[in-house]
Every structure is written in structure tokens, then in C-alpha cells.
Symmetry: C3
Subunit: 352 residues, 3 copies
């Protein structure tokens, strides 16, 4: 699905809209498409240099490329220092978010005690608990389940098979994709005298701020006491595990399969690469960037760029990783050296 | 949600209940709360030394601290050598588990062939297959799905969007949180002569013993033959993957994102840190503790404390991890040494 | 559940069927079972050498063992160079896939605009969006949710709590287990001038070819442009994350907790061990085998056998892993050597 319902525009109009110098040739643009599939009225995007050769053979009507892109292209090109954000906004212009018609499917269960905003769309077999609040224009897809006392702001979209547990609070414009579970019990158990594990009631809650997007099959757990918090504009990818009592700041990016242990504190504008983990109670400063699979075991200063386990400055981590396969040969060379030094010492002793 | 419906008590009463020496000053306690949020009738808990300074500024009416906590506090304190289990039991006393009213939502599908215990609560849109058995006082939240022949003991709680597949057996007091899948097919395929992958029917089942708690979005797979087993009192956190034919003992702790390959055998009182993995068919003895992200590739003796990949004694693993970034400088120093030894050898030869 | 409805056969008949030399003694075989549980009319299978001793004590009526198995057995044995695929086919013969009766549960929501094949089984509370197409003999278990414009071929099986998002296309004989999400939005955001993250609409789709099996709680994401593709016969285990724009070839095996970053290209007959990850845009050639937890950061040639992070030839990776714990002692020995060489140099200088 790459064609668009939006009015077609010309390449020159698009250039003007984004303050980009217009190429000489103009062309009508009806949509965006991949390098391989784009046709003569479609704009394509060079997302990665490795596709430069393919781009030169593309049938696309126009191309969006980095300002420093070198070489001839068969189609007119928009050149910009920020090709990724321009691409994002072009996509958004050609694919405005679909509006769901307001309405309540007859099979949706909405107790009298709920407060439902205007123009809300509630799909088939949705179940709301008691005292749920939904803001204006929310969309609940079929099979969303909201437990008692959930509060959701305006313009949220909750997909099928999402569970929002008791008392969870979402801000405005929050999107939660299929299968995610917000507010299940934190993993809190203490070994008792007889060796069994005693469950600590998890009576805190989870609060998700405005403009957060949570992808599919994510878990954000509730805490024993106090709330687990996700700050404004933060995005959380599939299979991320946000344990009880974590606090995540604003506009941070939590990639897939990240695992944050209990009470981790993540700052604003942080980027945690896929599979990154944290030990409990650590603090990660604003603007930290952690490479994929980092193991954050101690606090990290704002702006740190880290990698490895434990997470250390990314340059050191990369060097360590690249040198690791040399350890067997280092061991061999060291062994040989020890013999040579021994021989030298014997000779020296003999001389003396 | 941190206030409690339970009768308020005094700090002295609580001290007596847990056999802790009472502080001089008494105070009425209505509930527990975090260091930041606790008010003058609330008890707070120092869960981690790093919050000691905050505790000194807390408005809490009382505090629970380790026996060896040093320094003055503005509030009376309960001091105990086991603060964590005392906290757990206090939480439990102030937050007794809510009782769901028995009843069957009219939309729940319960075939005639099912056997339903007393005082069972079955939520909206729950689907039971044929011949399902539910013990007394079970709670099935809306959108739980139980396939044919599932057998559940008494006092279990099954949350929304949980799938219990055909023939799965749960003991008493088992809790399964949202989105977990118990008894989906094991990942069993064999390459056939033509290079395609031939599916091995998975006709074993999964048996979960009493007092197990399974958090959200967990997978416990069924086996080709024989049962996958989870022992009494074991707790399994979000995203854990328990493959076909695994056996987990009693009172073990399987943290988030653990991945156990087929036929792994885990003993009693084992603790597997987050993201730990195992190779197939390995045996992990009773009481083993594996640090986060351990890679268990060989059998482990009872009581072993391990870490790293492959999992080795934790002390060695930590030392190896800390030294890994030194490898580049070791390589450089070795190179330099080799040159110096060569120079010495030449001098020695010249001398001779 | 290990007994079978299939007609019993004799061991000699089974031997003939698979072209295996028949043992002297014949015995009636009613089913397969584990070494521990098999009775006198059941065939058991030695899946791993470590169970050889147990096999000798088994009450099984017959055993399937590798051709090179040594030692006496109390029961007649089928010996074959390919015991695993013979086991798989025996399992399949004794446990043919159950046929679901065709029919549509009265609570299933099937809009007029859908196209439903013959002999389709649609379970309770299934929700189909507009314009969904289901091929002949498909089975949709209770609580499957298919968004608008989903197209499914013949003989597919979709389990409970599966979400197939808008426009997703499945071939014939595809199986999707519980909780998996196919076609949720790719994780595509770009930092905007104000530091917020701008969502890139994900208007591509996901296409799954014939004979693919997707286990439980898997995510296969849709892309901004173009389709995410999974090739014929490929099998994907629990918790695998297939990001936007990935292409997976035919008959590949993607084990549990694998995480493929955006636009990864995986060839045919590839095997990715559990927890393996890839960086974005890398290409993995046909027949590559990656050990558990490999980190694929660069393109891999066809047939490569790799391991480690970054993924390097498996032999080098294993050696590096085994030597890693020696780094602390290497550092110590190097230090000592430096002192001895210094002493030698001083002596040499003194001599000169």
C-alpha cells in the first residue's frame, strides 16, 4: 500500500515546502515508494548509501538524497542535509492518519461508571472495567481490554489484544500496539524462612505521558509502591521490558528487546539500542546513547556514548570487542616470550 | 494507589508482630509508601542504600531499615536483619488480595462438558474449550482463552489475553498474567531430504505446579513427547521462553527475557538473572545462581554461582569482563616487549 | 497425551516403510513415548547420547537409535543414519493433524465484504475487518483478530490472540501461534528540530509465504515503504523480532528471541541461533549458520558458520570466548615479564 489519497503535488512545490533548492526539472509526484518499486510519478528515498547503485537504475520520478550525495542520477533530486526528517514529513503529508468513525460496537462492554469522551471509537469485544475514563476521539480496536480505573487522555489509539491493567494512566495521543501489557504486576518476591518465595503486592501504578508510542508485545510493569513512569514523547519498541519502578524521561528511544531492571532511571533524549539491559537502580543521564546490547551496570553521565558489558565509552567497547578474538594468539605469543626471556636470563646468569 | 483498606495499626504493634525491637516513639500507621510520597501516618522502606539521604528528608511517619543502618533519622525506625521480607509481609498485611465476586459473565462461553468449581469468577468473553476443569474460587479475567482439556486447580487467577493451550494442567493458586501463552507447540522441525523443514507434532503437554506465578507475555512450550514441567512455587518473569521439554524445579526464580533451550533441567531454588540463556539438554543443579545474561552451555553443580558466556564461576566471569577492555593495551605492550626481547637477544648474540 | 488414534503397526512394518533394516524381533507398536514413560507397545527415541544409560533401562517395546549407537539394548531397535527425521515422520504418522469441523461460531464477526473459502472454521469472538479473504479449510481459533484487507491462503491455522494487522498477506498452510503480531507499525521515528520524535507512517505491509510457521508472541513489523517478507517454509520461534523491511528467504530457521533490525536480508536455509541479533541493512547469505546470541554486524558470505559479537567464524569465536577468562592472568604475566625484561636491559647496559 504505497499509493496515497492525498492531492498530487509537483516536485517544485515539495521543494518549496521544505525550503530545499528545487532541481531544474519538475515532475508531478503522487506518492513515495521504494527504490525498486517507485514509478515515474513517485518520489523515492536513499535511506542508506549501500543502495546508491540501485538508485541510479530506479524508475522513480524523483529522488530524495543527502546533500553530499555524489554521482549522476537519471531523475531530478531533492538534496538536503536532513534527508531522514524530510522523508518522514513527506510520508506524513502523503499518508495522513486515517480517521476512525466514532461509534461503539454493540458487543463492547462499557459499564455505566465509565466516562467516555466525544467521538470515541470502541471496537468489537472491547471490555472496559469500572470507572474507566476515555478522552475525546480515542480509538479502541477490537479486543482491547482495560481494567478498572484506567484513565486515558484524548486522541489515543489502543490496538487489539492490549491489556491496560487496573488504574493505569495514559496521557494524550498515546498509541499502544497489539499485545502490549501495561501495568501487570512487577516481579517482586522475597525468599521466606522456609525457602518459598513470598509475593510482594504491587499496588503502585503506571503513568504514560503525552505522545508516547508503545509498539507490540511490550511490558511496562506496575510497582509495589509509587508509579512506573514513561515521559512525554518517548517511543518504546517491541518486546521491551520496563520493570517496576522505572522512570523514563522525555523523547527517549527504547529499542526492541531492551530489558530495564527495577527502578532504573533513564533521562531525556536517551537512545538505548536493541537488547540493551540495565541493572536495578542505575541512573542514565540525559542524552546518553547506548549501542545495541549494552549492559548498563553503573550510573552514566549525561551525554555518554557507551557500549559493551559493562557499558563503557563506545570507542573502548568497540576496540575491546575487535581485539577479543586476538586473545588466543596473544596468549601464545606471551608463552613464547616467557621462554625467550628465561633463556636470556640464563645466559645473563652464565655471563655473570 | 498506596492507601489501604486495612485497619490502621501502630508502629509498636507492627514491631511486636514481626518480633522487632520497638523504637521509643510510637505512631499510627495507615499504610506504606515510597520515601518521596510517604506522609506522617505512613511507613516507608529503605530498599537501597543509595536512597539513604532522601530517607533523612522524608516526611514518612516511620521507616523500615536494615539493622546495620547508620545515621540519625527524623522518624522512628524498625531495624531488622531481614528488611526485605518484613517489607513484603507488611505490604501483604496492608494490601490483602482483593476477592473477586463469583459469577459468570453472560458472554463467557462454557461448554456443558466443563467442570466448574464453586465460587468461580469467569469474565466477559472468556472462552473455554471442551472438558475444561476449573477448581474452586478461580478467577478468569475477561478475554482469557482455555483450549480443550485444560485442568486448573483451586484459587488460580488467569488474566486477560492469556492462552492456555490444549491439555495444559495448572495446580492450585497459580497466577498467569496478561498475554502469556502456556502450551503452544515446541519449536520442533527437522530438515527433510529436499531441504524443507518437517514439523514434528508436539503432543506432550505442560504441567505447572502449585503456587507458580507467571508474569506477562511469557511462553512455556509443549513438547513432542512428555511434559514441560514447572515446579511448585517457581516464579517466571516477563518474556521468559521455556522451550519444549524443560523441567524447572521448586521455588526457582526465572527473571525476564531468560531463554531456556529444549530439555533444559533447572533444579530447586535456582536464580537465573535477566536474559540468561541455556543450551539444550543441560542440567542446572539446586541453588545455582546465574548472573544476568549468563550463557549456560554445560551442566552446573548445585550451589554454583556463575556468570558470563559460557557461564563460569562468577568471580572469574566478573574479572574477565573487567579485563576485556585492557586487551588492546595488552596487545600493544606485548608488541613492544617482543621488540625489546629481540634487541636483547641480538645483544646477547653479539656478546657471545 | 502420547497415545495415538492411528492404527497400530508392527516394528517390521515401520522398518519397511522407512527403508530401515528390520531387527530380528518384531513387536506391535501403538505409539511413541519418552524413554522414561514408554511401555511395551511403544517406540522410544534416543534424542541425545546423554540418555543412553536410561534407554538401556527403559520399558519401551522398541527404540529408534543412530546407526552408530553402540552397546546392547533390551528391546529391538531401528538403526538409521537419520534418526531425527525418521522420528519426525513417525510422530507425524502416529499423530496426524486434527481436522477442525467447519463452521462459524455465532459470535464471530464476519463483515459482508469478506470472502470466505470452503470448509473454514471460525471460532468464538473472532473479529474480521472489512475485505478480509480466507482460503479453503482455514482454522481461526477463538479470539483471533484480523484487521481490514488481510488475505490468507488455504489450510492456514491462526491461534487465539493473534493480531494480523491491516493488509497483511499469508500464503497457504501458514500456522501462527498465540499472541503473535504480524504487521504492527515498524519502529520508525526521526528526531525533529525541537528534539521530539516525528513518526514516519508505516504504510508498507507484511507478506508471509507458504508453509511458514510462526510460534507464539512473535512480532513481524510492517515497513514505511515496501513489504517485510518471510519466505516459503521458514520457521520463526517465540519472541523473535523481525523489524520493518526485513526479507527472510526460504526454509530458514529463526530461533527464539532473535532480533533482526530494519532491512536485514536473510537468505535461504539460514539458521539463526536463539537470541541472535543483526544490525540494520546487513545481508546474510544462503546457508549461513549463526550460533546462539551472535551479533551480525556485517554482511555474511553464503555458507558461513559464525558466532560471537561481532559475528566471526565460529571456530575463532569459540576460541575467543574460551580464552576471555585468561585475560586477567595474561595481564599479570605480561606485567611480570616487563619487569624481567627491564632487569635484563639494565644488566645489558651495565655490561656494555
Amino acid at each position: 500500500m504505497t499509493t496515497s489519497d492525498a492531492t498530487p503535488r509537483t516536485l517544485h512545490e515539495l521543494a518549496a515546502q521544505f525550503g530545499i533548492e528545487a532541481p531544474r526539472r519538475d515532475v508531478e509526484i503522487t506518492g513515495l515508494n521504494t527504490i525498486e518499486a517507485a514509478g515515474p510519478t513517485e518520489l523515492t528515498f536513499l535511506s542508506n548509501e549501500r543502495y546508491a547503485t540501485k538508485l541510479k537504475e530506479s524508475a522513480a520520478g524523483a529522488a530524495l538524497v543527502p546533500a553530499d550525495f555524489e554521482g549522476e542520477l537519471p531523475m531530478p533530486a531533492l538534496r538536503t542535509a536532513q534527508p531522514r526528517i524530510v522523508f518522514a514529513k513527506l510520508m506524513s503529508a502523503f499518508h495522513p492518519r486515517a480517521q476512525r468513525p466514532a461509534g461503539r460496537h454493540p458487543t463492547a462492554i462499557v459499564p455505566e461508571s465509565c466516562t467516555i469522551g466525544d467521538d470515541v471509537s470502541i471496537g468489537a469485544y472491547v471490555v472496559l472495567g469500572e470507572n474507566v475514563t476515555l478522552g475525546d476521539r480515542c480509538v479502541l480496536h477490537p479486543h482491547a481490554v482495560l481494567y478498572d480505573d484506567v484513565v486515558i487522555g484524548a486522541d489515543c489509539e489502543i490496538h487489539g489484544h492490549v491489556s491496560l491493567r487496573e488504574g493505569v494512566v495514559l496521557g494524550d495521543r498515546v498509541i499502544v500496539h497489539n499485545g502490549s501489557v501495561i501495568g501487570a504486576d512487577g516481579f517482586g518476591f522475597e525468599p521466606d524462612a522456609d525457602g518459598s518465595l513470598f509475593k510482594i503486592p504491587q499496588v503502585g501504578s503506571v503513568r504514560i505521558a503525552d505522545d508516547v508510542e508503545i509498539q507490540a508485545n511490550v511490558c511496562v510493569d506496575r510497582s509495589a509502591l509509587g508509579d512506573t513512569l514513561v515521559g512525554e514523547g518517548t517511543k518504546i519498541d517491541n518486546f521491551a521490558q520496563i520493570a517496576h519502578g522505572c522512570t523514563i524521561g522525555k523523547h527517549s528511544v527504547i529499542c526492541g528487546q531492551v530489558g530495564l531492571a527495577g527502578s532504573t532511571k533513564i533521562g531525556n533524549h536517551v537512545m538505548l539500542g536493541g537488547g540493551t539491559g540495565s541493572a536495578g537502580h542505575v541512573e542514565v543521564g540525559d542524552g546518553v546513547q547506548a549501542a545495541a546490547r549494552s549492559g548498563i551496570m553503573m550510573d552514566l553521565e549525561p551525554g555518554a556514548k557507551v557500549g559493551g558489558v559493562p557499558a563503557i565509552p563506545i570507542k573502548d567497547a568497540l576496540r575491546a570487542v575487535l581485539y577479543a578474538p586476538q586473545v588466543p594468539s596473544i596468549a601464545r605469543r606471551l608463552k613464547k616470550m616467557e621462554r625467550r626471556v628465561e633463556a636470556l636470563e640464563e645466559a645473563e646468569n652464565a655471563d655473570a
